[in-house]
Symmetry: C2
Subunit: 235 residues, 2 copies
DNA sequence: ACAAAAGTGTTGCGTGTACACCCATGC
DNA sequence: GCATGGGTGTACACGCAACACTTTTGT
């Protein structure tokens, strides 16, 4: 039986905002678009949702195609469906942000695309509404990261506390008191101290830590301690 | 020119989780589905996205069709795109939750649909994955309402503090200390005291308040004071 | 008068912030 | 030994939960 006959069909796409952290700044991975229209312009990595996959599945596939990475943290961060967003054809795009460890990425990068990292706030002009998508992803990343410790996804397995502190500083564009930050993080039981020290960035050296994955998963999964909080303040 | 030729077309739908508060419990508005397949079964209000409208526009249209209401608070709360979610045809559905003031709704209800309010946790069996949609909407409502004072959207223009306190109790299934709640709310400058009292629910009577829309909009728009908060706890 | 719900005053505790200080190391 | 960044101790402020207490009114 063919229900819904005559209903308008719309093309459904996904676009990925791929975040990485190089120790200095928060960056996003952009590609030179490889199909018409707008071929060769800078763009987010994306693709159409195929009949046998979910939107999230499409995003996962597209991400793997570009980076070779699997099991990457991804999360929906918007729906872009303005009828005029692409002038040629009606396409609704669902966006996902991905957090990847650039250490792992370096080695597996696909040569099929001309891909390049750009500082989050200094990307070139992009096609369609991709600029808005990035802005939405940044907002969503900030919101999520304030509630759940997802930023660890951007770091290698072994990391130092100064490293993650500077990551938070990049994400929120703030200055943190590293001493208090360190204490707070340790008190959370989220990280486990290793024997080894990183001596590259200081004479004394900072201990390496790794995630306590049990506690991490618990915190990622759990919800807010839902209480009204009207003490919302501006950025 | 016809770019993207040969790309699979997918039907795109929206479904609305319509929340209302009757003073006693949090409820959702369900309808008896009026088209095949699954005609006459309980369902969320929904519809297909038309070529000339955005998904959000479709949700707004569909909501107005059922309730007659416009300018209703709505927010995306999920994407349901499993290839097998409807066995007959590939449909991806974007869900929106809506917060309406049931006082206004009572009078304008459309007779075109058999619609009925159900307590959020006691709804009948629903078609497809609509049950999951409601669960996702509930989670999203709780998260949003913990960060922004959106629950006022569920109340009439004039409301009392005990009223909104009991709304929070319903949404989070908790007991609040009304005394502290009242103080906290007043300190937020979100509400403005009126001369009048509601004497229906107590002998002393509780003052009516109305929203301070300036402060309200500011708080709704503003983002988190983005700071890492790992003190996440379970429900 | 008294019950019942609205609303205020007060206090202790926990968390975050600021900052003085100590520690380890390379040069 | 001294500069540099890593890390600890401590003190104060603030916000929130707890709860005794006051207020207002209907019966």
């Amino acid at each position: 039986m063919d229900f819904y006959k005559g209903e308008p069909s719309i093309l459904l796409a996904v676009d990925c905002i791929i975040f990485g952290f190089n120790g200095e700044s928060l960056e996003i991975l952009l590609i030179k678009r490889d199909l018409e229209p707008e071929r060769n312009k800078w763009s987010l990595m994306g693709g159409f949702v195929k009949p046998e996959e979910s939107p999230e599945g499409a995003a996962t596939r597209v991400l793997k195609k570009l980076t070779g990475l699997e099991n990457v943290y991804m999360d929906n961060c918007g729906i872009f469906g303005d009828p005029k967003r692409e002038s040629h054809r009606r396409v609704v795009s669902i966006t996902y942000f991905a957090l990847i460890d650039t250490q792992q990425y370096q080695h597996i990068i696909s040569d099929q695309y001309e891909a390049k990292w750009f500082p989050l706030d200094q990307h070139p002009d992009l096609i369609f509404d991709h600029k808005d998508m990035i802005a939405a992803a940044k907002r969503e990343l900030r919101t999520k990261a304030a509630l759940y410790p997802i930023l660890f996804e951007l770091l290698p397995d072994k990391f130092t506390i100064p490293q993650i502190a500077s990551l938070y500083e990049c994400v929120y564009n703030i200055q943190l008191d590293k001493r208090n930050f360190s204490r707070k993080l340790l008190a959370s039981d989220l990280i486990i101290k290793l024997k080894e020290k990183d001596k590259e960035n200081s004479k004394k050296g900072a201990f390496y830590y790794r995630l306590n994955t049990d506690i991490y998963k618990e915190k990622i999964m759990s919800f807010l301690r839902y209480l009204p909080s009207w003490s919302v303040e501006n950025e």
